[in-house]
């Protein structure tokens, strides 16, 4: 219990961010038309690829003097994270591109 309180104090800014981000996330999404549910899910999915930053820090400070399983797993995490980010944004863009095309042709 004491440790958790300590944790709260140590990370109080982050915990504030979490609390506010929850409301932000709800607020930003509400009123989205059903048409955009799939692209929105896909776009949000790409944003959850922020874990890539963790991957960069992890591999960035990895010890390269000897080969280790950890390094391989770290590189794997980087590849996975990039797949999530690049693939996610690319797929979202492709979906939205189609809506765009129709609009401009009509007008």
């Amino acid at each position: 219990m004491e440790q958790l309180l300590q944790f709260f104090f140590e990370y109080k800014e982050e915990i504030f961010i979490i609390a506010l981000s929850i409301f932000l996330g709800i607020e930003v999404i509400s009123n989205v038309p059903a048409v955009l549910h799939t692209p929105l899910m896909s776009g949000a999915n790409a944003i959850s690829g922020v874990i890539i930053i963790g991957g960069i820090i992890l591999v960035g400070h990895a010890d390269l003097s000897s080969f280790s399983l950890d390094l391989v797993l770290g590189i794997l995490a980087l590849i996975f994270g990039t797949l999530n980010v690049v693939g996610g944004f690319a797929v979202t863009d492709r979906m939205l591109e189609m809506f765009k095309k129709k609009k401009s042709r009509k007008s």
Binding site: V35, T38, A46, G54, L83, G87, V91
Partner: protein
Amino acid sequence: MNIVLGIINGTEYTIGDTLLELSYLVAALLFVVGLKMLSHPESARRGNLWASAGMALAMATTLFLHRDGEGNGISIVNIWIILAAIGVGAAIGWIVARKVKMTAMPQLVSLYNATGGAASALVALLEYPNAVAGDAGSLLVTVLGLIIGAVAFSGSMVAYGKLDGKVGDIMKPFMTYLNLVLMVVTLGLGAYIVVSPNPPTEMTWAIYSLLALSLIYGVMFVMPIGGADMPVVISLLNAFTGIAAAMAGFIYNNQAMILGGILVGAAGMILTILMCKAMNRSLINVIVGSFGGGVSSGDREQGIIKEINLSDASVLMSYSQKIVIIPGYGLAVAQAQHIAQELDELLESKGVDVKYAIHPVAGRMPGHMNVLLAEADVPYEKLVEMDDINPDMPNVDVAIVIGANDVVNPAAYNDPGSPIYGMPIIDAHLAKNIIIMKRGMGKGYAGIENELFFNDKTRMLFGDAKSSLQKLVTEIKTM
């Protein structure tokens, strides 16, 4: 970059550190603005670009400006390794995203969500040995990141398999209890790791067991859920991936990761609930999975099925004033959206008013049908949402149901025993004539009878949606 600006809590900070944090702030703001823009049709595409720009910025500044506890930056060799790994991931991600068919879109989103979950679980796994025994707070976020990331990974893989038709539904009554036990054991082991006084280096067995248990739980969690509910599951797992990334943000004390992750977590949860609402079901109901196996009030008078031939159908359509096409997943599977658009254009040239009625859960994902029809050059204005078209249904001369079933099943209104009772539907039964294109007399995804098929106004046109539509187009052209 290495000029020291000042000292906070005994730690020096440099211009580089400040720029890095500043770039995280900009990235976090771009995520929020991007997501906001993504929820409006006009700005959606730009929103996606803004969010990706934020991600690129955060990645670049981390690579060149991040310093570890001792103040060492990332060395050149490591930078090359990272760039190589990112290059591989980016190339695969980009090519697959560009090449994949639009019908396979839900699978792909699921697959990319799996990779995000895997990355989170791996990062947590690799950071665990650096944690200090007794530091319950940081152990807690590490363990949570590992569990949630691993569940998101294996769960998304199963969801991918189901959407791709590679994995079937396995639902046994005991699985609910088994899953409950599995969850308790997983969380128990996680709690043990958090409170254990042993240093992490002696707990390798425990963390790997936790990973294995979490992966198994992810599989078991998604396995009993019916294929039709996969969109809800993917959205939920998407929220999980966000939360797992935020947990890793704690490990690195990185606000951009925390904000981005929680933003996605909250947005994903809301999206999940919106999807459940569209099907008139609760999230619990979806997860526990009481769908599919349910017995409908079966033994009632069903009436007779009446077929229609192609020429009658073409005459009926050509001389109508108002036609509504109600597409379902069958249309997508048959890749018939392009030919449906051709039929639509042909009828329009004969002065028929053609609209598409889109049920919120038509296709395999909410909005999936809109994407598919947009791909086939159907103008955006012709896609009408359920709530807007229903009041107009009695004025419609022909409702053409293509590959849809449950979303037009009147049992949702008048059969309290039906699993879909209460679900909002498109009121096809109110139209003056109904033509249903179907492969055969199979039941819908929910596995229940559809009394619309036996309606007096209904005519069935059996066969593959694509070839039926093709023949209709040829028939109408020769008229």
